[in-house]
Symmetry: C2
Subunit: 527 residues, 2 copies
């Protein structure tokens, strides 16, 4: 049941005097349930409680944290259909997507449980003492990753489950040993409330300290700002717009003690179609990409918003087919009137730029909160000289850049902002003769794809979801996959520490049987 | 031979019109050689050249980079006695230290050569495709660390070799595949000039691209500021004061594209003496610590500037012996009149605080640039209420805090700023009954030491030299040991990439024979 309150640790709390409602974009009405915003006092209490619980929780074994994570997954499953219904009512996303995203969320929680239970993630390193070394004896040093401190996670508008309350950031932080305070996304605060209740149930059933998790509601930006500035908070996870992510980054950098902000801020995800691929597969590619551009109403961070090709009959063919195919797709609803509004505004800005031609736009009138997909074309020169065209239009929008030649294509790629992904569509071995293109593209992205679509972010250890700024604020970390745990940890060294007081990961006997860098050899050996 | 010029890649250049000289603190005179400051044009040229060379250098194999690193070590050795003499003339540090620090520098370069040649550092991860998976086929994903981009390294005043021109930061960045521009430290610009010539010789002999290394001189802060703001620069390494490090961090955070600044900014390195240790070993500890406090005129980042104990006969004993021992040590010279001046100023500020008692100060007049060591005492309450006393006085200064009881000791530790190290001196198993003390100390430091001294930073994989802010700007990385390479790399994913176009680290055949996370198992297996 949706409580509409905040969770300050295990305590339901509604001390604030400001309420708001979520919105059903499909029905174009407000949802019934009322949500109470967190007050300044509640924010401060949650942070203090998180810092207290950190002392206990950060010392828990991988096994104990794994129990908690698995219990969260089970409790979310126990929410049953109510969760799916609220999810759809607050996002307009269909039941199938709700089921799929719940599956992904549970999968992430269980993957992190396995990951910390195994224990290799701490990157244990041991250099044993050499008391007889000349001129100075060598001390015993042992290093491993430990938890960073209380973490604030901002729910993402476009993933009410997988990147929100119990999503990837939360699962990774809890796995690392960090208490989490979620700043629930206002568009799906009811969904967040249900998931928060599941986390609190799981925490109580598995004996976690009070304060290991809190959930705070807000319709504006103040709650988030206060959280990021609270001295008890040691790191921040965010998925959303460039404007929002940068604002949090700036706030965190200005603190007396600056803290890391891991913001994933989306991108245009350039797709380069090489000449032979255009010549041989223009129609097929156009069909595939009309689907990718409109998938989930274009509301994925990896939506292909920029397609690059060199002028040719093949490119003309591609453009024609894309125009035909894109209008065949039925327009769909966006997450919220605010997002529809932003799409329309950003689209209008893009379309008003000199030299932009609308290739195809779905023409029939659409229902409220539904949007029409658009693809445009532009000359390479025009694109190069107008960086407005380089920015993301969040939604089902894409621009095809018609480049003069290979040199211009390379030049354009090298001048793009940082991106989550870059895709190359190539026929046979033509990619082998385009290594310069590959190299400049690699320098601008976090993940490079051959002959696929950027939408679809596999949750696995080898996924890198992030990239050079402004795709993310820190290209050195991924926000998808188990390695995302590294954002919430710091390495720590013990010098000449007694064996029985060391964490299990560093004990002579290697009781967890993990891989350790022992005197510069990766091994599971005991000492 | 000292050229006094800047190296813009392989090119000696002196376009600026401002010159300066370094200073011999032992003789209290300027050194003969004249250094020309880098001009704005030279700064920009070096950055552009670094970005160009990145395209080539970042693709080099571990073996090729290792050849370069080993050649640098050999060329530095070839500088022979001239380097040692200039080192001492510019720092006042004795020949033995020059020899030792050169050895450390060569050792670091060769350790990084081994590290990248072996290849495990890229943390290769492979998840193979499952085309038959339902409901969606699984793609092939392969991830590894790649170079971040051109790096600026600021030479450290207190380590003219090991943390300057070819020091730890430079060796780590070059090992990762990043070109380096050194902003040479003005106090030892001649030393830097000699080492830069060695690096350039090594680069040319091993076929490195022009621009993989540049060395820029300056006596002020402008050159550094321009470098940090240059869009071609992607990361910064710094060792020095909190004020300097924070200023660079702030500049980098304000860029249109923010970049990471890894600043190691020193600390007071708290030492906690537990009751039994005080009771049984007060005199022995006092003797050891009078040596540690004055080692290298107190000019180590890990100098013990804060000693904590609970009031007792043992503590009185310790304080008395420390007072006796500390004045037996002959005062020594500091690196530069500026550093002497800062020590005298910061010491005066500390001594003027209410409740501070000078325990012992070397009383005889000292020569110019020499300084007198001081130890002081203060009550726990007074220390708690005056954060001025928590700050580092860089030099041979230490304060002994006399705590009322265990609770106050714990409270004081929990309120300290972030520290590089924390030390616990314990007798027998008394540490086992002080786990709270251990836990609060761990939360404030990067390395915890039992029954040792914090001075002495072993260069090995298990060393963590860094810590919570303000010990460093990013507690998630070390600046000493081979893992410091992680600061200059980012993970990168290849999706469905052709085997023959993958880097060797990710190829099916595993030609380098490295450990890889293959479908969630760490193994050296081929595919």
């Amino acid at each position: 049941m949706i409580t509409g309150k905040n969770y300050i640790g295990n305590q339901l709390s509604a001390k604030g005097n400001k309420n708001f409602k979520t919105f059903n974009p499909l029905l174009n009405v407000e949802n019934d349930w009322e949500i109470t915003e967190a007050s300044e006092e509640e924010i401060s209490d949650a942070a203090t409680l998180a810092a207290e619980s950190f002392k206990i929780y950060s010392k828990f074994s991988g096994t104990k944290k794994a129990q908690f994570l698995r219990a969260i997954a089970n409790e979310i499953e126990n929410l049953g259909d109510e969760l799916l219904e609220v999810f759809s009512a607050e996002s307009g996303l269909p039941n199938g997507r709700a089921v799929g995203e719940r599956g992904r969320t549970l999968g992430q929680l269980r993957a992190f449980a396995d990951h910390v239970e195994t224990g290799n993630w701490v990157e244990a390193s041991i250099d044993t003492a050499q008391p007889e070394r000349q001129p100075i004896a060598k001390v015993d040093l042992r290093k491993m990753n430990i938890a960073l401190g209380p973490v604030v996670v901002f729910g993402a508008s476009n993933f009410p489950l997988a990147f929100s309350t119990a999503g990837g950031d939360t699962a990774a932080a809890l796995a690392a040993g960090c208490p989490v305070i979620v700043k629930s996304h206002p568009m799906h605060a009811g969904t967040g409330d249900l998931v928060a209740s599941a986390i609190i149930n799981a925490a109580q059933k598995t004996g976690m300290p009070n304060g290991v998790f809190s959930n705070l509601n807000s319709s504006g930006i103040e709650v988030g700002q206060l959280l990021v500035q609270n001295p008890n908070i040691k790191a921040v996870g965010f998925t959303g717009s460039h404007r929002g992510g940068r604002a949090l980054y700036d706030l965190a950098a200005k603190r007396e003690e600056p803290i890391p902000v891991f913001a994933e801020m989306g991108s245009v995800n350039p797709v380069v179609i090489l000449p032979k691929a255009l010549q041989n597969r223009a129609k097929e590619i156009a069909k595939t990409y009309s689907g990718s551009i409109t998938l989930g109403t274009g509301q994925f961070c990896t939506n292909p918003g920029l397609i690059l090709g060199i002028k040719s009959d093949g490119l003309n063919n591609f453009v024609e087919t894309l125009a035909e195919e894109i209008v065949k797709i039925e327009p769909s609803v966006m997450l919220h009137p605010n997002i529809t509004g932003a799409y329309e505004k950003n689209k209008a800005t893009a379309l008003s730029q000199k030299g932009i031609k609308v290739l195809a736009e779905y023409e029939t009138e659409v229902k409220p909160n539904y949007v029409r997909q658009v693809v445009t074309t532009v000359e390479g020169n025009t694109f190069l000289n107008n960086t407005t065209l380089h920015h993301e239009v969040f939604g089902p929008y894409s621009i095809v850049v018609q480049c003069e030649n290979k040199a211009q294509l390379e030049d354009i790629i090298s001048k793009l902002e940082g991106q989550l992904t870059g895709t190359i569509l190539s026929d046979d071995d033509e990619i082998a003769s385009h290594t310069n293109i590959v190299n400049v593209l690699q320098n601008r992205v976090g993940r490079i794809i051959l002959n696929g679509v950027p939408t679809g972010v596999e949750v696995c250890p080898s996924m890198l979801h992030g990239g050079p700024y402004p795709a993310s604020t820190d290209s050195r970390f991924t926000s998808v996959g188990v390695d995302s745990i590294k954002r919430w940890a710091r390495p720590f060294s013990y010098q000449d520490w007694p064996n029985d007081m060391l964490p299990d990961e560093l004990k002579n006997e290697n009781p967890l049987g993990i891989f350790r860098n022992l005197n510069r050899n990766l091994t599971k050996e005991k000492i």
